[in-house]
Structure formats: C-alpha cells, structure tokens
Symmetry: D2
Subunit: 144 residues, 4 copies
C-alpha cells in the first residue's frame, strides 16, 4: 500500500496580479491530489460516485509558507490523518518539485453521504472501500 505524490504544473490562469498563485487554488490542488491518491489506492472517485457514495468537504484549512509562481511544478503528498468509517481527515504537503521547499500545508475533513446527501457508514455500505481506507490509514500511521 503505497502511492506517489501528485504533481501539478502551475497554470497561468492560477496566478493573480501579485504574480503568484492565488491562495484559493491550493484548495483545488488539495482536491486534485486527493482524487489522484484515491485512484492510486484503488478508490477512483468517479466510480465511488457512480456507486452512490459522495465524499463532501466539511472543512478545509491551509497555511501558506512560501509563494508559488507560474513555471513551477509542485508536488503534493496527501496523508490520511483520521479515519473511522464515518468521517476522515486528510493532510496535504505542497512542495516545489525541484527544491522540495514547502509551499503550503493543509488539511480537509470529510464525511460519506449517499445520493440523497444522507450520512452513511462506509463499513456497512461499501465494506470493500472501508477495507482499503483502513489499509491506507495503517500505511500512514505505520511508522508512529
């Protein structure tokens, strides 16, 4: 159970008139990295939605450490901080792909909903997904 960091080339339209990436885009990058990571571990988000499982964002936070500029590639490493089958928390570290300098750290909180936006217990609704999340959680907390 392993995954590669997500890579993102900064887009021109992601810059603002400070000539740096607008802060709101990191929140979108977290989502890109989360979707990529879920796919890597065998949980493609489009398939999950087709099976009627939605993972909305309950909370999000970011601390901006250094500025990201156009022309740069960033590497984003997600980590499953908390998971109990009903809620989860994911953290993100965004670094410059060349130097490794930290650009931003952040976190997002989620629950699991069905198509009617009612909370569901993943263990009951999709035990196969639940098993994968447990494995991912174990991999993230192995070293502690």
């Amino acid at each position: 159970m392993d995954w590669k960091p997500y890579e993102h080339n900064v887009k021109y339209y992601e810059t603002d008139q400070m000539a740096i990436v607008h802060h709101s885009n990191y929140i979108r990058w977290f989502e890109e990295a989360r979707v990529d990571w879920l796919e890597q571990v065998g949980l493609p988000y489009d398939e999950m939605e087709r099976r009627g499982i939605i993972i909305p964002v309950l909370s999000v936070s970011a601390e901006y450490k250094t500025m990201t500029r156009f022309g740069e590639t960033v590497r984003i490493l997600p980590r499953l901080e908390k998971y109990n089958g009903v809620r989860m928390e994911v953290s993100y570290t965004v670094v410059n792909a060349g130097s490794g300098e930290v650009r931003c750290v952040g976190r997002s909180g989620h629950c699991f909903l069905n198509r009617d936006y009612k909370p569901l217990i993943l263990k009951n609704t999709a035990p196969d997904y639940h098993a994968v999340f447990q494995q991912v959680y174990a991999a993230c907390h192995r070293e502690e």
Copy 2:
C-alpha cells in the same frame, strides 16, 4: 419588455500576473449577465432547470478590445441575436461602467435540452417560456 445591464465588480482572483482580468473570466461574465437578464425578463434559470429545461452552451466567442483591471466595475448588456425555439444566440457588450469604454464583445450559442440531455422544442415543452423569448427577441430587433 426592457432590462438593465448587468454590473460586475472585478474580483482580485479574476486577475492574472499580467495585472489584468484573465480572458477566461469574460466567458463566465457572459454567463452571469445571461442568467441575470433571463431573470429580469421572467425566466429564472434555476426555475427553468427545476422544470427540466437545460440551456447548454454550444459555442462561445469573445474579442478583447481593452484590458480590465481590479477595482473596476464592468457593465454587460446581453442581446438576443437569434431565436427560433430550438436554438438561440446571445451577444454581449462589456464596457467600463464609468467611461463606457468597450472592454470586450462576445457571443454564445445555445440549444434547449431536457433532463436526459435530449434536444427539445421550447414551443412545445414550455410555450410560456417560448412566448417570453419571442417578446425578448422582438424587443431586441424592434429598432431595426
């Protein structure tokens, strides 16, 4: 049958590192102006969607005349260029709200779909909407 131009205050996040509004945002402003205008003439788009009528964009074009900057308010005037109950074309003129200087002109093409994304004939599906579109068309072409 009359309507006011739509006003939009330029957002900081709409700028790019050229210190002007990124060109893709004008396409979004066209949509904002279109939705506002439809509401003004009695065709609120959220209600249309609830009644099962979707108006996708088939084509879009824009010509950028002068640059728009943060701190500016633009005024956008939509005009129903073509309408035949199956398709329509709307044009947009974006001007600086203070000076009237033209920032951008553009156009969007649309059809009408039902919830299954099948084309529909508005005259049959929603004769009340069709009647309004005809009135709007007449108002736009009155002077010609």
Copy 3:
C-alpha cells in the same frame, strides 16, 4: 464605524456535479467580502496596492455547515478578529440571505508587505491606514 454585509449571488459556474457550490469558492467569497468591507471602511484595496501595500493571505480555514445552491444569495459578514499593525485575522460568517441559515464560517490570516514582498509595519508605512484598522478593530470588539 459600521459596514453592511457583503451580498453574493451564486453563479452557475460556482456549482459542481454535486449540484452545490464547490467548496473552494467560499475561499474566494471571503476575499470578495474582505475587499468590499475594506472599501466600505475607507481602505480600497486597489488604492492600497497602488501605494505599495500588499496584504497577502498567510492562512485560511473554512467549516462548511450547510450546502449552498445556484439561485441563492448569500450574505457574508467579515469581522476583524486580531490586528496588531503587522498581522491581522479576519473571520467570516456566510449565511443564506433569505433565511439567515449559516452556510459556512471561516477565517483568514494576513500580513502587510511592500512591493518587494518584504514585511512592513503599517503604523510606520501608512499611519492613516493603521488608524482605520484600529477603529475597525475597536468597532468589532466594542461589545465584549
């Protein structure tokens, strides 16, 4: 020293395929509300930038309480939580303009930079702005 909440009509392009506003847009709304509020109290952000004062975002957080949909208007009330002339923190409450139901609460942290992205002490660089921020802070903490 008083200000009105900022109003935002939800845009179609702000929705995602869950048929709700994508969570990243609230971060942009915070900025819209912050810019509007600064202008209301006499600190227009475009003027501040022209005077060489930049207010970057150091951190941001949001808790999503209920879902916002297209067709809705939200009202956003910013509040100056902390201010010491070098850094500031602003909180935001996003409510449905009709019912007052809370959609989201959030917070952003900022410092003040000059054109070379070097930190500055607002009291020294722009004592007039500093005085306004102090008044705003007092107004926000009056009742406590």
Copy 4:
C-alpha cells in the same frame, strides 16, 4: 519540429451542476495546451515573460461538440494557423484521450507586447523566437 498533444485529467472542480465540464474551462485548457506546446518547441512562456515578451489573448472561440465528464482525460492538439511576427492564431482540437471523440474545437488570436503593453515585432525584438515560430508554422502547414 514536432510536439505531443497536451493531456489534461478533468478536475472535479471543473464540473458544474449539469454534471459536465463547465464550458469556460475549455478556454483555460486552450491556454494550458498552448503553454505546454510553446515549451515543447523551445519557447517556455515564463522565460518569454522574463525577457519582456507578453502574448495576450485578443480573441477566443470554441465550439462544443460533445460533453466532457469528470473521470475523463482529454487530449488537446494545438496548431499554429497564422503567424506573421506581429500576430498569430492558434487552433485547438480537444478529444477524449481514449476514444478520440471530439469534445471541442477552438481558436485563439494573439499579438506580442512588451512590458509596457506596447505591440512589438517579434522579428526585431526576439529574432530567435521568431525563427522558432516560423519553423512551427512551416511544420503545421507542411502537408498542405
């Protein structure tokens, strides 16, 4: 003188409540593809801007053929339609990376500006860049 099509994985935040990619994002994809293509042929856009050459968008158009959905990868092929050292036009074909089905075709028009937003003649200002654009143009029109 050859280049590979640009690949883009559709992002969740690029969808709207029609459960398809919002039409404004294709305009951003054109830019992504253009930047990638310029880099492939030896004209990295961040380097051009550092040398004081800006390539603003004068016009843009798109025709939407079929809908793009989340979970999909699109492939975008830019082509230099016109180039005379003062202006250029680029066309784009967006296809589903798997099936090759055409999603969208479009075009963007550009000029070349210096840092003061004054038009420049690329042949004079940057003959090395001009030579590359001529080669790219020749490669695009070879077969005709």
